[in-house]
Each structure stands twice: as C-alpha cells, then as structure tokens.
Subunit: 446 residues, 2 copies
C-alpha cells in the first residue's frame, strides 16, 4: 500500500454489490463464514497456520474513509443510503481461530467469523489473501527447516517475493516456522527478526582483484565477515578467503565464514571445507545459497555436505512448486440456519465448527475430528475465541511464543506425514453429528 | 506496508553492510547496474516489461527516516559516520529503461541504473522485487488474453495473490497487458482500472431458495445483474436465471449475464446458452471463471465455447506454472571500468547497454541486438533515459498509453514466439563490440 492509504477497498467489487443487495433486501442477520483448505497439493501432508495477527489488526481497524466512499459513489451503482451505511460500518463480530504456528489439514476450520452478514462478507477477500499467503509460506518454510536436518536456515527471499507485502510476510511466516533470521531489514525492524547477510557478487566485482574486496570487507567487519567466494572461481575464491582469514588471525580477529552461491554445492562444500581445515581455519563456517529449496536441502543433508547454514530465497519465498492453495471462506450459517454449497468439487460443510485433536501419552498426534462448535468430543479443542464484538481478546502470543507452538506441534506429527514426498494422510474425520447435518441439508437442497 | 511506514529499509542487510564497506574504503565512484532476465522458463517465449513506474516513485522518494537510522544503530554493526551518511542519502543517479508494456527477451537490459555505488547498490532489492513481480504477471496475463481469442478477460485474483502489494500490482500489470478490468476495488481507485464483479455463492446460499437470491439481486441491480448459477446445480440455476430474466423483461429491464464457476465449462456453457436462447434471452452474456489459466482458455477457445468473457484469478495472479523468473541486477561498470561475473550458470555481460530492435516494413519484429550504450546499430533504440540526477523525466505515459504500447508491440511479435507451448526463440544477438569486450575481460579475469 502507499503510505497512509486506507485499506478497506482492498476487497472484490462483488463483496460490495452483494452487501448492497443484502442491505436493500434488509438481510442483516448474523452469518458465520468458515475458512479452510479444500485439498492437499502434491507432496503436501500438512499445512502450518499463519496470518491471523494481520487479520485481527485489519478487522479491528476496518472503516471506509471519505475518499473511499467518494470513489464508490463515482461508480454510479451504489445508493446513498447504502454508502451512508458503509461510511459508519465497523467490524463488530466474533472470531474463532486456531493459533498461528499450529498444524492443520484439509477441510479443517482455520478461522470462523460470525458477524452481521455485510461485515462478515466484505472482509472475505483480505482474510483469504493474508491467511493464504502466510500459511502457504509457513508450510514451505517448515519443509525447508525439516529438510535441512538441524542446520540453520535463513530467509533470502525479499528480492523475488511477489511484492513488498509478501516480502514482509514471508520473513515473518518463515521465522514462525523455524527459520533463524532474514535478510529483510524492514522485517527486522517491524517484527524483531534477527538479521543476516554480508556481501554480493557486485561487491567483489567492483574491485579489480577479489582479494582486495575480501580485505576491504574484513577491515570493516572484523567480527562478522562472511566472504562470497564464487564470483569467478570457487576454489580460487576459497584460497583468497584463507589468505584473508590468516591475515585476520594475525590481527587477533576471526573470519566468520564463506558463502557458496553456485555450482555443484555438495562437491564444492567438501572441497572448500578441506581447504579451510588444511589451513587450520576449522571454525570458519560454510554457508550455502543459490536456488535452494527443501528438495535440494534434503539432498545436501543426505550427502552430509559440510554446510553450517543455508540462505533460502526465491523458491521458498514464492512457494515455487506450489504457489497457491485451494483455500476458501464459505458461508456455513445464516440467521441461525446452517447452509452449504454443492458446486462440483467445491462443496462445503455446514454449521459453526470446532476442531478436536487427539494425542497419545507421549504427545504424538493421533487424529483429528471436525465437529460442531458445541459438541463434546475427545481431544484438545484447537479453535479458541480470538475476537469478541470486534475487539481482540487479550494475550495474543508474541512471535517467539508462536515459534514455540510451531516447534511443539510439528514435533507431534508422525514422520510419515512430514515426508517431503508422498506424505501419508493424517487421519481427519467428521463427527457423526456434522455428517448427519450435512446429509440432511443436502437432501433438502436437492 | 503499514500505513505511513517508510520503505527504505525494504532491502537486504547485505546492501547496507556492503555500503558501509564501500564507505569505509572510500569507494564512492559511479557504478552502473543492469537488470535482465537470465533464462526462459518452460513455455515462455517472451516477457512483458512492467513495474518501472513504481521503481521511479521509489527512487525519487528514497530516504531513511529517523526510526530506520535508529534501528540500524541498534544492530551494533554500523559506524556513526556511515549512519550519518545514510541519513542524508538521496538517490541522485541516472536511469535508462525500456517502457512498460514493451516486449523483451532473455539477457536484454530492462533497466540500467548509474549512480554513486552506494546508491545504486542499496536500491537493488526493491527494483528487482517490483520489476520481477510485475513483469512476471504482465507476461502471464498477456498469455491469457492471447489464449482467450478476443473474448474479454478480467482479473479476479486479489484473494489469492501473495499479499496486498501483489494484489494491487497484479491488477495493474494484467490491465497493462490487455485485461479489461479487475474485481480489486482499491486498484480501481488507485489506477482507474474498470471494476467488475457481481455475486458469490455465499449470497445465493444465504437465501433459502436460489431464485429468491436472484430476485433480490436483480431488484438491487436492474441494469447490471450477473447471476452465479452453479451453487447447487448449473442447469437448474440457468432455469432460475431464465425465470428472473423473464420477470425483468416484463419490468422493462434486462438481465446482463450469468456466471459459471465449476464443472465441465465447455459442455455447460453450450447447454446454458441453449437454455437462454430458447427463451429469447439471446443477449444475456455468459461469464466463465473458476481456476482458469491460459491453457484452459485456449481449450475453451478451440472448442468455441459460447463464453462472452472470463474472470481469471489465482493461476494468473500467482503465475501458477512459473511463479518466478531468473531476474538479476548486476554490476556492469564501476568507475568507468566495465566488469563482469563468471559464476557457473550466472555469468553477466559488461558495460552500459542499448537494445536495438529491427522491424520489417509491415512493423513485424525481426530480431534484437544487445549492444553498448554508445553504439550505432540498425533498429529502434528501446532504452530511453527516464531519470536524470534523481528526478524523473517529464512525460511518463499514462496507464492507457502503456496499454497501447503493449498492444502494438505484442502484435509485432511472430506468432510462433507468442505460442503458449514450446514457443520458438526470437532472434537476439550481442553486438560484435560487446562480445569482444566480454572476451577481453574474461581473459583478463581468468
């Protein structure tokens, strides 16, 4: 967004035309919408929930400003009484949600919004937009962390995320799902995420000789220099780094690391490690980057490549193998009447819901049941009330706390469900009550 | 971004650490960076340039605010003299670029930035971010328009674009590349893009009977009602729409259209057209949506499916088959010395450049030559100066003018290059001077 610009028009036109039709037909009753993911993309066995904080910020501050109302008026399709209604509109509803960092599966309610139907309707676009992006990226990032087998992973994606907002949310979502830091300085400022990064090829090539670039950098950052060694030739670069590392040692300083960004990463890392170790630079770390994703990380882990950490960029930041998920926000109740949709391949489950997860005595997740909100079923109830009458509940977890939720819940997953390829399906069932409600409604609708 | 938040920290940390190393080493000479796309993703034969306007806005307003400087100071890696330098820093450089809406190919310079190296370096992240996203989407959108064979295509992507900024830029880039409108109301307000959209399944399912929903909508929008007919059963929905269309006709009104969003689109559109025509509703339009992309549009076009227009969402908005491109911003000259990078698979071409496009007498593009900026070669010179000493040149084209550039330049492309699958390669060569400069430098570097 442009600085200072109001965001309430960040919605689809049909939300506002429908709102006007509800308004003119005097349909103002309470509606519940449920947000869920319809299906697993290939190679996905779980999702990581993220984005709720931005949704709550948005709902709490929702209001049309004068410029927005004037713009709508200029479209010549809205009546003055409806525009007056919009000008005064605030979000006054209730929101139930599972926490950010929690693991979820298809069909499971992530967020349920209950509010007068106009309010609950016009917020659809923004809510889907933020939960879709952040959960997509948190899921991709969790896969990368898992694949890296204990090595540190940091976010280098900002330059190729889809725009600025994505750059910020990718930094946050990947940190939520176990990344250790980000190169995105604004994300460091806004979210308190640790910052990482040292030099690019341009720095090296701006000097006539690579070693001069390394020396200049080490002189400025004697405590935390990581030298990029592949601008011309990785092995020659490693030898130049060794030379500078030796010079630093003579000054009582320590070269922190070297970075490899191209070529045969597994083979080069072994060779570079040997070159460093041969000169006694055993503490100098090797950082890998350049087009990495969870599949390449898993290969490097399997090969036991001697990297200490990885910078993961574009393919994580756009979730390259699966850049979208089939997420939907569907009306499940209107005026206390459960409703459903039967469109081919896109049918929905009626009613307000709760999600129950059963764990064994060791804390391992055994299975989920999607039930109605007021059911009493075995297991932990994962949806909690996070907003009441348009005001968020106290005690929203901090980002470090959300990271702990992720670590705990990810550890509770069966390894077969966490697999990078062809994961097995975590058992999710619908309660008997919910199944019978749906059957009943489908019957009636047909 | 949050409202009012400054954007200058939207950069990678290494831009700032390199900047400090340049500063401490008193390297302040002029540098030129060149932005280009390294390779064609599968199924791509051309790219559409987009995003320059945001880059110029950014460069013109670049400055660190006090909160940003304080935050950098808190990182304990920056010296006070450098932070003072940053606090006063503005972008004072020269920018050459090809226009938005222009067609381009791999290796071709899209933007060249010449400025004191610190300025030219720290803007890298934002420039890549915006040009990458907008060119990616403009290219995907151009493919959709081409595939639709003359039918109108509009943007429905906002809910699943990667964040808010992407939602805005997708609306703009797709409109630039021939889309007729967007559902994104904010994009209508900011960019003047025509708005489209009517109703969702939730509107239908909030009523007990589909026909009541249609009647309520038609009562509110007697001049522009488009009824969504697949909530329960498309054929039954079409019959309900016919009923409402008849009632509207009796009131002297006209049903504008119906929308299909699921199922076998080609078969259903034929059947729905017949149902409408049988009742004399021959002017009622049929709009198709639901997971469409250029490949499905091409199938519907080939089948001559009787759609009048299409709403294209997620797969265009995230460029689903190719959600990123291998775009780079590389140092090509420092202190009047041409430079290059030789990293495996990522080597660059040295020097400031110009792009020459030869067209035949009918205006058809024949081939491009990438040369040095001061060369005189046959063809139209595609890069022009768009910013001088940090101020943009007058006369930046309006969005409608940029749309005309796209239409003209796309029409000039050989059909084989525009093909959706396995396009042929447009001839692009490097000038003899550029090749010899590169050879000379590579020799010297090795």
């Amino acid at each position: 967004m442009k600085a200072g610009e109001n965001q309430t028009l960040l919605t689809d036109l049909y939300q506002l035309t429908m709102a006007q039709a509800y308004f003119r037909a005097q349909r103002a009753a309470s509606a519940t919408f449920s947000l869920f993911i319809r299906s697993y993309p290939p190679e996905r066995g779980y999702f990581v929930s993220a984005g709720l904080q931005d949704v709550l910020d948005y709902l709490e501050s929702l209001s049309f400003d004068a410029a927005e109302i004037d713009f709508l008026d200029s479209q010549k399709i809205f009546f003055p009484d409806f525009l007056n209604h919009l000008a005064k509109l605030r979000f006054t509803g209730q929101v139930w949600a599972i926490p950010e960092g929690q693991i979820l599966f298809t069909d499971e309610p992530v967020i349920e919004v209950t509010a007068p139907i106009i309010e609950a309707q016009i917020v659809e676009t923004f809510i889907i937009n933020q939960i879709h992006l952040q959960s997509l990226i948190a899921t991709k990032a969790a896969r990368c962390v898992h694949a890296a087998g204990g090595r540190t992973v940091v976010d280098f994606a900002l330059r190729r995320t889809h725009g600025i907002d994505a750059g910020m949310k990718v930094a946050r979502a990947s940190y939520l799902a176990g990344f250790a830091g980000t190169s995105n300085v604004k994300a460091g400022q806004r979210y308190g995420i640790p910052l990482v990064g040292t030099m690019a090829h341009s720095f090296v090539s701006s000097f006539e000789r690579e070693i001069d670039a390394f020396r200049a950098y080490a002189a400025t950052f004697p405590a935390n220099a990581i030298l990029l060694i592949d601008t011309y030739d990785t092995i020659a670069g490693a030898k130049n780094a060794v030379q500078v590392g030796r010079e630093m040692a003579q000054r009582g300083q320590k070269l922190l690391g070297v970075r490899l960004d191209s070529g045969d990463m597994a083979a080069l890392s072994v060779e570079v490690r040997r070159i460093l170790d041969d000169e006694g630079l055993t503490e100098v770390k090797i950082i890998g980057s350049g087009g990495l994703d969870e599949f390449e990380l898993a290969q490097l882990t399997a090969a036991n490549a001697p990297f200490d950490s990885y910078g993961v960029g574009t393919k994580m930041g756009v979730s390259a193998d699966q850049p979208w998920s089939d997420i939907a926000y569907k009306l499940v109740e209107y005026d206390a009447r459960p409703v459903l949709k039967l469109s081919t391949g896109k049918s929905s489950w009626p009613g307000r819901k709760q999600l129950f997860r059963v764990k064994d005595s060791r804390g391992q997740a055994q299975g989920d049941t999607i039930g109605l909100r007021d059911e009493e079923l075995p297991g932990e109830r994962l949806l909690t009330k996070v907003m009441h009458d348009g005001k968020r509940m106290a005690g929203y977890p901090s980002l470090p706390e959300l990271r702990e939720i992720f670590v705990r819940e990810f550890a509770a997953l069966p390894e077969s469900v966490r697999a990078l390829r062809q994961p097995s399906r975590f058992p999710v069932e619908f309660s008997a009550k919910l199944k019978s409600l749906r059957e009943q409604l489908a019957e009636k609708t047909r």
